[in-house]
Amino acid sequence: DAGVTQSPTHLIKTRGQQVTLRCSPKSGHDTVSWYQQALGQGPQFIFQYYEEEERQRGNFPDRFSGHQFPNYSSELNVNALLLGDSALYLCASSLALTGTGNTIYFGEGSWLTVV
């Protein structure tokens, strides 16, 4: 049973560029959330996708956008990269949008460095 998988694992981008990160959820999961984790900090919620639509959003600018595909996989896009966007980007998957006790499982993350 595959867990949450993310790609790429590491990448370096230049300020102003755009980046796309990819995530495949755990088998059987239909909800994908993205988190940004700066060094020495806890993960910060970016947004959540369910049924191919953005359902929840954290306090992140419109430069951060996403997409969910019919197979539940997801992409995170960041435009006009800033140095402060350098972080570990984590994808988490879960089953269904509502209900108690729906554990979220994380992938290993994509390390983004903006130079």
Binding site: Q41, P43, R55, Q56, T103, Y105, F106, G109
Partner: protein, 110 residues
């Protein structure tokens, strides 16, 4: 606003001792909590969870305690081992989103 925070940034324990990591949350509507372990360079790994209608839950060598009155939860690790060295996060769910604290680094001394 939403916040989940930890009392101590670093905790050092002797191998074999018990560890207690604490976490406070602000949203009384939080209905579900998870503890994660994150090793260097890796994603958070699920340890144990607890629903708000419970005050204690036990796993293998780990116990989570929830005190809703003071909005506090703790993670107890029995017989701490070197492999337990990592950063531990608590996460609380509120308004269908999870909020994380900044983490506690657990150092296990041999």
């Amino acid at each position: 606003g939403e916040s989940v925070g930890l009392h101590l940034p670093t905790l050092s324990v002797q191998e074999g001792d018990n560890s207690i990591i604490n976490c406070a949350y602000s949203n009384s509507a939080s209905d579900y909590f998870i503890w994660y372990k994150q090793e260097s360079g890796k994603g958070p790994q699920f340890i144990i969870d607890i629903r708000s209608n419970m005050d204690k839950r036990q796993g293998q060598r780990v116990t989570v305690l929830l005190n809703k009155t003071v909005k506090h939860l703790s993670l107890q690790i029995a017989a701490t081992q070197p492999g337990d060295s990592a950063v531990y996060f608590c996460a609380g769910r509120g308004y269908n989103k999870f909020y994380f604290g900044s983490g506690t680094k657990l150092n296990v001394k041999p």
